[in-house]
Assembly symmetry: C2
Homo-oligomer: 150 residues x 2
DNA sequence: GTCCATGCAAACTGTTTGCACGCGC
DNA sequence: GCGCGTGCAAACAGTTTGCATGGAC
């Protein structure tokens, strides 16, 4: 990925932005991680390489990278955001609203929906996130008192 | 909806919770609104009927209602959450990551995906949200400098 | 009467911003 | 050298929480 003669730098220049060591580090760190990271976890990892980087810079870099489409931001309703480099496989989330557990899954239907929308509206779709909510199987069993459902 | 002899109260009792005027008001207000409301907007509307209700109670009520599945919470990455009563038609979002514009749309594919997952994992799916990100048509045109895309 | 829910205000967390300096270009 | 990007610390917004009172059951 970093074999090319600075493709990343070109990407930045195309948008009239500067490629700083910090921004590159934030992106590379996120790409190296296979999972969603929140800002602070990312901050911790990034500091291993650059102990002087500030949390504010991590946030500012993330915003820039998000605007460039190099990073995705998700809010799963936990009060803070998670970030990931969209190269990872597009996984989606089922969230149990009772125990808060998150189950990742995948389906081609989302890609279909994205393609459909892109065609209809003329937009460019670069990220897709499906979030299902409900009750997971364990929680369904231990429904507090009764199970007066349907 | 409110013709029945307090079905809502029963719902609360089934979970060992108390139905207070505040909680009922929060839910009814949210149901009466056809759109997503953030906590403060909801607080404003609710105060029209009960000027003494506190913002904290609105938040606490929203959490309870969310846990009961009567209210959905969305975070569109604006730093705060939006809430809605899931009776409204299931609409999804395309978010332009450049101008922040949100386009609502609908597709049956999401329902398919939900049904699929419910069958596979034995979960109960009560809410579905698809969030696509990318660049909207206007923003695609005015790509800052050049359009070196594919 | 019991205990949960409320109102108030203060605390907290995640994120943003003003400023002076430093560095990419 | 110019101007954007950085580090620091303070500010900020949204949300949560401790405590005493009030109300649902």
């Amino acid at each position: 990925m970093s074999t090319e003669p600075d493709k990343l730098r070109d990407l930045f220049h195309e948008e009239g932005r500067r490629l700083t060591p910090q921004r590159r580090l934030v992106l590379l760190t996120l790409e190296a991680s296979d999972q969603h990271l929140d800002a602070e976890a990312l901050y911790d990892r990034v500091r291993l390489r650059d102990p002087d980087i500030s949390l504010a810079t991590v946030y500012r870099s993330l915003r820039v990278l998000r605007e460039m489409g190099l990073v995705e931001e998700h809010s799963l309703g936990e009060g803070h955001s998670h970030y990931e480099a969209p190269r990872s496989s597009p996984h989606f989330h089922f969230i149990c609203r009772r125990c808060g557990d998150v189950i990742e899954f995948d389906t081609p239907l989302v890609e279909q929906a994205a393609a459909e929308l892109a065609r209809q509206l003329g937009v460019r779709v670069t990220s897709a996130h499906l979030r299902l909510g409900g009750t997971c199987q364990p929680c369904r069993s231990q429904t507090r008192n009764h199970q007066t459902d349907a």
